[in-house]
Symmetry: C2
Subunit: 343 residues, 2 copies
């Protein structure tokens, strides 16, 4: 009668299982299972009876056992690329993880986090075996580049449902999720250029093997064509240091610096400050670090949490058997000030 809270260290108190519920409710295990999984063929009467016991015993089905048995309910892996300790990527990755993990809990999906570095020295079949051994059914890939052969093979293999962020892959079992990179680059540059009446723009592009690099480049090209602006493009490789160097060399002869990432924008801006000249700079991503540079800049705000939530929902869809598709998440333009981010 007493719902013993089992004070302390009584070892053997096993978790309450479906069997206990069945016995307590006076029905068969299979019936309990049906109630739990909302099967149609079960009377309101027993349904209620079972649910009451479930409630009373505080029963929660064992997800591990379920996934062993079911083959449907599967786990998903987040494949994260950890960049050399630049905390810009830490911030972004953390938001990715947070978004996915939260949404996963709501959808009753089990999530494991995997870093590229953990699998980069494995062959494709080893990685596949590893994921299978973990009962992984779906994978979300963050920060994929053209050089990630392993991921390409994973997609081609077709063994897993996959969602790739910022990479243009769509097939029956693969979806892509991203913002409209071309449009975003166009928008943020346009705003900056109009505000400052620029004629000659220096564009610091991302790394060549990044899929977004080309799209963003299209955006700035389109703008410059439309507005008849002189465009100088340099490969900043998404590197703060590289951007700094490029700004030092080329910024003097232009009236603004458009960057394909916030980190590059920061590098460029710091260079300009050191050079003691002013040029408007705009970035891309909307990371908090932008608030620490001392100068405000326009940037594209990507909602990484949202992107990751959407990616997880998309993976869920795929795991229900739906076909892959391309999903675009909205973005916005912002200026990040120190006063806004300080807490």
């Amino acid at each position: 009668m007493r719902k013993t809270i089992s004070a302390g260290s009584d070892k053997g108190n096993a978790m309450v299982s479906i069997k206990d519920v069945a016995r307590e409710a006076g029905v068969a295990i299979s019936t309990v299972s049906k109630v739990l999984n909302n099967y149609p063929n079960v009377s309101e009467d027993t349904r209620k009876k079972v649910n009451d016991v479930v409630e009373r015993l505080g029963f929660v089905p064992n997800a591990v056992a379920a996934s062993l048995s079911s083959k449907k309910t599967g786990r998903v892996a987040l494949l994260i690329k950890l960049n050399l300790g630049t905390q810009a990527s830490d911030e972004i990755n953390m938001q990715y993880i947070s978004g996915a993990v939260h949404r996963a809990k709501e959808l009753q999906l089990d999530v494991i986090t995997v870093f590229q570095s953990m699998i980069e020295d494995m062959t494709a079949s080893e990685v596949t075996a590893y994921f299978e051994s973990q009962s992984i059914k779906g994978i979300i890939v963050y920060g994929m580049t053209t050089k990630d052969k392993l991921v390409h093979k994973l997609i081609a293999g077709g063994k897993f449902r996959m969602v790739v962020i910022d990479a243009p892959f769509v097939n029956d079992t693969t979806s892509s999720v991203s913002i409209d990179n071309q449009r975003a680059q166009y928008d943020v540059a346009k705003k900056t250029i109009l505000e400052n009446h620029c004629k000659k723009v220096l564009y610091l592009a991302g790394e060549e093997n990044g899929y977004v690099t080309g799209q963003r480049l299209e955006g700035i090209k389109k703008l410059c064509a439309e507005k008849k602006l002189k465009l100088t493009v340099r490969n900043g490789k998404f590197s703060e240091l590289k951007a700094r160097e490029l700004a030092m060399r080329f910024a003097r002869n232009t009236d603004c610096v458009v960057c394909a990432s916030d980190l590059m924008a920061i590098g460029a801006m710091k260079a300009l400050i050191d050079m003691d000249i002013f040029r408007p700079v705009c970035g891309f991503d909307g990371i908090i670090l932008m608030g620490y540079v001392g100068k405000q800049m326009n940037t594209v705000k990507q909602d990484f949490v949202r992107i990751s939530e959407v990616a997880l929902e998309e993976l869920w869809r795929l795991m229900q058997g739906e076909k892959g598709r391309k999903v675009i998440v909205p973005h916005s333009l912002v200026r990040i000030k120190y006063e806004d981010i300080i807490v």
Copy 2:
């Protein structure tokens, strides 16, 4: 002879199971299991035979099934506290996750990531049930405060092996892992004070409900007592904004500002710059953000990746049945310059 890569989209090839290995090797399933788990009683002969087949088939044991069966091999949860979008904590948490996940893979432990926000509105027994339903055997708690009643109950409940970072809990099933906070605060302050010949120090302490706050406070008190320095303590609450305000109000009458966190050090330093006065400032944590402030500061470098690796190893120990203990991880003193962190 060819190690077939199984070209492409052959759908139905289920994962190779222990059964397949057994059949292929001409032994019983249990024998394979014994080989896999390095049991003593198995002849070198069959051991080799089995291992060959394992190799050839690329077999990897199904972790889910194993944990269902074994009751020993369990999963561990990382309980992460996500702070209001300050990317300082993002950086730290990312390193925590990275360290734990990597070490976990080596130790063949399955890891799930859980955020405080996901469980904060549950009761202790609900959380317990949730973790049990996930076959969680051990939990690492990051960023625990005195106010986290839930975690306290989890520890008291004794159902899980636990490792708490930066919190003083040790019992049979619980270990604590941290640096020597008192010593670290003493060291970094001493260095700063000696370098600048300070006499009056302003100390911006952490939040009262943080376990490290008291230890760090002891460190600075000890130093000031030894060196006969005038010490003014204010509660900065680990807040950059609060530190900024406190620096504005109190820094003028002191010759240096010792902070219990880098974020506060940044807030204080920015305030000093705005006030146009110079005071040496030192921080605590060693986050990369320190490189973006423009002024170099001494700080304590915590190796969060290492801390988390150690925590995971400790959890592993506990799960082997060993008793809880207190583990101290080394720290170091550094100055973080923009030139060092830019990549």
